[in-house]
């Protein structure tokens, strides 16, 4: 019995247990310091950076401090760190091959964060998907489309494809395409369009509306009339200005033609000859 007790005492006083205790203490201290460092950094940077960067900084500093303490703890336990790191390197290569897509997304995610083409809350268009950015994560970007669907887009495809940020600048241009009949006076049409834009309070006075004659179309004179609006009022302007242009054209007797075909018989004045044949079968 005495031997058993002395064994235990010997074991407890041995270097191994002492090392283990130190390792545990290091890890606990590490967690506390990591938490402290990350919260301090978060507080210091919260009014200088946007939410996304603050979150990244917080997480990054937390894990960096924690890993440093973990390595010291392993050192205390008697692990040979160079061997351990070498093993980790081989392991990483294996994992890398196995999870090529995820790794590619991860690297793309880092580039995306560094390049900052958009931030959380921006409205972006990727391919045919348009939506508000909910979060930019390491593997993917999450969007909420305007019909309230949740879309996850892998970072890799964002890096590769064209991304349009709709909410970058405070003003946007709306291109109104309108065709008028060949008989209309283009000067009058232009004056009517200017009047409509002038009366609409959503349409910016400056930059001035842009009038472009697009060409002689099949059934109409094609005109592009571009007006500027505050970004948030874009849809409202799109709805109101089309309606107002239609009303103003109706009021001024300006025709918006639909595609039509004129059959020409080679003679300006005579109508197209139409003949009805009766009792065709009896002939």
């Amino acid at each position: 019995m005495n031997e058993f007790w002395s064994d235990i005492v010997n074991f407890l006083s041995s270097e191994k247990v002492w090392g283990l205790t130190r390792a545990i203490i290091l890890i606990v201290i590490g967690i506390v310091i990591a938490k402290l460092v990350s919260t301090t950094l978060e507080k210091l940077s919260s009014n200088k950076m946007d939410n996304h960067r603050v979150m990244l900084l917080k997480r990054g500093s937390y894990y960096l401090v924690l890993i440093l303490f973990l390595i010291s703890a392993l050192n205390e336990l008697g692990f040979n760190l160079s061997v351990l790191l070498g093993a980790a390197g081989v392991f990483t290569v294996a994992i890398g091959f196995a999870s090529q897509t995820s790794a590619s997304n991860l690297i793309s995610g880092l580039f995306l964060v560094a390049e900052r083409p958009f931030t959380v809350g921006d409205v972006i268009r990727v391919g045919t998907t348009t939506g508000e950015v909910l979060s930019i994560d390491l593997l993917s970007v999450k969007l909420r489309t305007f019909d309230n669907l949740f879309v996850r887009i892998p970072n890799e495809s964002l890096i590769k494809s064209e991304v349009t940020t709709l909410s970058r600048f405070p003003i946007r241009r709306l291109d109104v395409l309108v065709g008028v009949a060949y008989k209309e006076d283009l000067k009058k049409v232009r004056a009517v369009l200017d009047e409509v834009a002038n009366k609409n309070p959503l349409c910016l006075e400056e930059p001035k509306p842009l009038y472009i004659f697009q060409g002689f179309g099949e059934s109409s004179l094609d005109i592009q009339y571009s007006v500027w609006a505050k970004r948030e009022k874009f849809i409202e302007l799109k709805n109101s200005i089309h309606e107002e242009i239609k009303n103003a054209f109706d009021e001024q007797g300006i025709e918006i033609p639909f595609p039509h075909r004129t059959l020409y018989t080679g003679n300006d004045t005579k109508p197209f000859p139409v003949e009805t044949i009766k009792n065709k079968q009896s002939d």
Binding site: F169, P201, L204, E205, E206, P207, W228, K230
Partner: protein, 285 residues
């Protein structure tokens, strides 16, 4: 102050409403009806479009609504009409026993851009005073100290505009519906608009072409003269010698040559100092 004194002097201030009483304001293009019910206030308003625009001739007939003489430009009536007949209706539930409605005129929360009737050149070393008239907003509040703000209503719907060197750089502003004038007499005096004297000094060696002027209304406070006309302090814009910067100075008192004035409302944003420096192309264009 009672209703009666306000009826004679101004359309703003404090008004007392009994339960189930309506009050109606006709103020330029704005029609506003406020109705007090038991623990509820209803506000309805409507703004006439096309009330005035930039193309109004300088000397339009005096009997037109545009040039109503300043002594009777507004009306306050007690009415039986229910607010539901107007475009914008809102209801506010609050337990108020005072029946006090406080109406405060306010300037726009964005800068206002105005143009002279025709662009003009200001020769090197010259200075000129322009008079700019800017449309106002009404702030409705209920009860005495502290009063609860219900909403802010634009008396006139102003068109948005962009002011800046490009579509990337610049700020969103409101476009003024009236031209700025070189003579104060030419400026239509309206009770629902505030007048700002803008002194422009050209200290550079080149001529300054003035096509549009950016009036920093969010930095201006509002004063009323004894005849009910609203004024803001004078703004001095100086084009510096090097030509790239403009100095913007806002007086901390109302214009002196107009008479005794009473302060009506504070500026939206207090400027850090009375003298600001801005890039030249953010003030003139």
């Amino acid at each position: 102050m009672t209703d009666e004194t306000h009826k004679q002097s101004s359309w703003w201030g404090s008004f007392k409403l009994e339960i189930e009483q309506n009050k109606e304001w006709h103020l330029g293009p704005l029609k506003l009806i406020v109705r007090r019910l038991k623990s509820e206030w209803q506000v309805a308003h409507e703004t006439a479009d096309d009330f005035e625009n930039l193309n109004t001739p300088l000397n339009s007939p005096l009997n037109s609504p545009l040039n109503t003489p300043l002594n009777s430009p507004w009306e306050i009536n007690n009415t039986e009409q229910l607010p539901e007949t107007l475009d914008n209706n809102s209801r506010y539930i609050l337990h108020d026993t005072t029946g006090q409605l406080i109406i405060t005129p306010q300037l726009a929360d964005r800068p206002i851009i105005s143009r002279p009737h025709m662009p003009f050149n200001l020769a090197a070393g010259e200075e000129i005073t322009l008079y700019v008239s800017s449309s106002l907003w009404l702030e409705l509040a209920i009860g005495s100290t502290p009063s609860k703000v219900l909403k802010s209503i634009a008396i006139q719907r102003l068109s948005d505009t962009w002011f800046g060197p490009s579509t990337l750089e610049g700020e969103l502003c409101y476009a003024s519906t009236t031209h700025c004038r070189l003579n104060l007499e030419d400026l239509p005096k309206r009770s629902y608009k505030a007048i700002t004297p803008v002194l422009i000094r050209n200290q550079s060696k080149t001529t300054l072409l003035i096509e549009r002027l950016n009036l920093p209304t969010p930095l201006l406070s509002l004063y009323a003269s004894s005849n009910g006309q609203l004024w803001t302090p004078q703004v001095t814009l100086t084009r510096e010698k090097d030509g790239d910067m403009a100095e913007l100075k806002i007086d901390n008192h109302p214009p002196e040559d107009v008479g005794i004035m009473e302060k009506i409302s504070d500026a939206h944003n207090e400027a850090d100092s009375s003298v600001l420096f801005r890039a030249f192309n953010t003030v003139f264009s």
